[in-house]
């Protein structure tokens, strides 16, 4: 049962089947083991003006592939010294008996120019990706290849060969690297995260503002400039609208922003001391939020422009963070203090069938739906002192949970990547609060921010 839960979470039937065969008592499924394919990614070299971008390109490709968690990276120190750069560099595997002037009596070794150099010991790579960068007509060009080292025939071993073009800039190099890595990962059934963005809150300018960055931490840009407290961003399913909570007009209120035009969109706040924690319905046509219209913060739904607010929850308790199931659109999660300390609940869109999802232990907050509509990530203090949050994943149907962080600082506000396999979250494990991504099994943790205090990430396509 547990295995089924997690296997579906990652959605890779083949791997799940292998995972079954592994005798793992730990509920945390590792995507690791002998089952993962091994890949070697020798550095691309750059010709002419493209050379200055080679390091960035190589680093980006390597990190993207590594972060996917789908492949094992072959040890770089074992790489042959003379990797191929283009197809014509590859030679047919010489016969072992072929006299290579008597120098190498043992296994054939072309110093990298034959596929067995990569597929054999000590590297044991199943795949090798190679290529080079060049400048072509003022543009940056990359010639990327992926070869299967197990296929004896050089031509048959080719998985793909592709030419990439981008502006001759750092951004261009990064963009090409993401594309090449995405093409490699696609061979293994991994959807690409390239192009996805993370909205978050940063205080690096002196006040909390909404910022945005690429999924790998590149291109960090400030969006709001209120000089107040602006926080709790939410993004519409199509990525076109950003909603957030701001003190720029005094009491906390919701504001709406178009990510396309860079302009604010009118949003009518209800007459209340607080309108906060907005989120969108899956069709992008309505906004849910918490409002104190009637006293305690309660869950409301309104049109995109804030009109026609309608109360959904009904308790004498604090209730915040409504999140509608992205798959069904008929039920939602929210956080409530109705039973004591804050816990995560679910209810139907009409407010019926309220059920607590967390056990009541500790405090639970920040629920976030996996795109599959079956799993959620959230922050929980279960097993720790109040305030010591860790990231958990739950299968909503079975209420089974997996703990992904284990007391390394305070870990909060997890949200899912569009691929449903990665999470972004904030943690103060490295000192001040920073934003990290990880695979949904808790591995491949990568820190994306370093400047100032950064919190409340949301990942969007």
């Amino acid at each position: 049962m547990k295995r089924t839960t997690l296997a579906t979470l990652f959605g890779f039937a083949a791997l799940a089947a292998v995972a079954y065969s592994q005798a793992q008592s730990d509920i945390v499924i590792k995507l690791t083991g002998g089952t993962k394919k091994v890949i070697a990614l020798p550095d691309f070299r750059g010709a002419g003006a493209s050379a200055q971008y080679a390091d960035l390109f190589n680093r980006t490709v390597f990190e993207d592939v590594q972060r996917s968690g789908m492949l094992t990276m072959a040890a770089k120190s074992f790489y042959p010294l003379n990797p191929p750069q283009q197809e014509s560099d590859l030679r047919a595997t010489p016969e072992p008996a072929a006299a290579r002037r008597g120098e190498q009596p043992q296994a054939p070794n072309c110093n990298g120019r034959c596929l067995p150099d990569w597929g054999g010991a000590p590297l044991n790579a199943n795949y090798v990706g190679f290529g080079y960068l060049a400048e072509q007509g003022g543009q940056l060009a990359a010639f990327g290849h992926l070869y299967n080292t197990a296929v004896p025939d050089v031509n048959g071993a080719r998985v793909f060969r592709k030419l990439y073009n981008a502006p001759l800039t750092e951004d261009g190099a990064r963009q090409m690297a993401h594309q090449y890595a995405a093409d490699i990962l696609q061979q293994f059934g991994v959807p690409s995260l390239a192009g996805s963005k993370i909205y978050y809150v940063s205080a690096r300018s002196g006040s909390k503002e909404i910022w945005v960055m690429d999924f790998d931490g590149a291109n960090q840009k400030q969006i709001t400039r209120f000089g107040s407290i602006t926080t709790m961003p939410a993004i519409s399913p199509d990525g076109r609208r950003l909603a957030f909570t701001t003190y720029s007009k005094g009491q906390p209120q919701i504001m709406m922003y178009s990510t396309e035009t860079g302009r604010f969109i009118p949003f009518r706040n209800s007459q209340a001391s607080m309108n906060a924690t907005p989120s969108f319905t899956p069709d992008g046509q309505q906004v849910l939020y918490a409002s104190t219209i009637s006293g305690y913060a309660q869950i409301y739904i309104a049109a995109l422009d804030g009109s026609s607010p309608h109360r959904l929850s009904n308790s004498r308790a604090i209730e915040v963070e409504p999140k509608v199931n992205p798959k069904t659109g008929t039920d939602m999660l929210f956080v409530s203090g109705r039973g004591g300390l804050q816990q995560i609940y679910r209810m139907n869109m009409d407010g019926a069938d309220v059920a607590r999802l967390t056990t009541g232990e500790g405090e639970a907050s920040n629920p976030a739906w996996n795109p599959d509509g079956q799993h959620i990530a959230f922050a929980w203090t279960r097993g720790y002192a109040p305030g010591n949050w860790n990231i958990f994943v739950m299968d909503v149907a079975s209420r089974e949970t997996v703990q992904l962080t284990h007391g390394q600082g305070r870990n909060e506000n997890p949200t899912w990547a569009p691929d449903g396999r990665h999470l972004v979250f904030s943690s103060n494990r490295a000192g001040g609060s920073q934003i990290f991504t990880m695979l949904a099994d808790g591995t491949e943790v990568k820190q994306l921010t370093t400047q100032g205090s950064n919190t409340m990430p949301v990942w969007t396509k």
Partner: protein
């Protein structure tokens, strides 16, 4: 003694002269003798050797020094409230506007007058005081109104906060009375442990509880508003109970 001799001498001279006139009347006129050379010495007049004001230009509030030296005076006076002074001396004066000091020196043989002027410049005015009402509103809020504190995840007014709020109610009424345009903002704050989202709701409850309590005990209600800062504006940033307790509060702010 000398005067006596001189008077005797004058008398003798007059007598001699009259005798001569009598004799001349009897006899044919004789040419008159030359008058005596010993005419009486003239009385000396007062002399002002110097009369200065140093410096002659001052900024209001500073001093200027008058110095003078007078000879042959029987009496020296300076006007402008100074009065009688010795023949030689100095005096500090603090005129508040352009002033001319006149000196009169009286002497047996004549008086002397002199004058000096002191110009007074006015310093530029100091900056206008800050809006007195605002500063004193926040001063009075800080001095007369006390914050109240809460238990973890609770918004009920604690027993120990009731007495505080009783005093606050009176103070707030008095302050609102003195500042007719002011309103009171009750800020709800939370410690760092709860989630930021939930704490927005909790801070709102804390501020609302305090507002409702004030209203129930007859405190001001109309001009009191609430705002929740959740854990966004902590008073203290350490991770210990002392600090957490300081952050679980309702804080009063006067707003003009």
């Amino acid at each position: 003694m000398r005067t006596m001799l001189r008077q005797k001498h004058i008398a003798t001279t007059l007598l001699a002269a009259s005798l001569l006139l009598f004799a001349a009347g009897c006899k044919k006129k004789q040419p008159a003798p030359p008058p005596p050379v010993t005419a009486p010495a003239p009385k000396p007049a007062a002399v002002i050797n110097s009369f200065t004001a140093e410096p002659s230009t001052i900024v209001r509030g500073e001093a200027s020094t008058l110095r003078w030296d007078v000879a042959n005076a029987t009496e020296v006076t300076i006007d402008g409230g100074i009065g009688s002074v010795p023949a030689r001396g100095s005096r500090q004066v603090y005129p508040t506007s352009n002033t001319t000091y006149r000196m009169t020196a009286k002497g047996a043989g004549g008086d002397a007058v002199g004058a000096v002027s002191v110009s007074v410049t006015t310093p530029p005015p100091p900056p206008a005081p800050p809006p007195a009402a605002k500063a004193s509103l926040s001063e009075r809020m800080a001095k007369e109104v006390q914050d109240v504190f809460f238990d973890y995840d609770k918004s009920e007014v604690r027993e120990d906060a009731r007495a505080t709020l009783q005093r606050d109610a009176d103070a707030l009424k008095a302050i609102l009375n003195d500042f007719p345009s002011a309103v009171i903002s009750v800020e709800g704050h939370c410690d760092e442990r709860g989630s930021a989202e939930y704490n927005l709701g909790l801070g709102d409850r804390r501020a609302t509880s305090v507002k409702e309590f004030l209203s129930q005990i007859g405190g001001p209600a109309d001009r009191v508003k609430t705002i929740s800062y959740g854990k966004e504006k902590p008073f203290c940033t350490e991770s210990n109970e002392d600090c957490w307790q300081k952050n679980r509060r309702a804080h009063f702010v006067g707003v003009q």
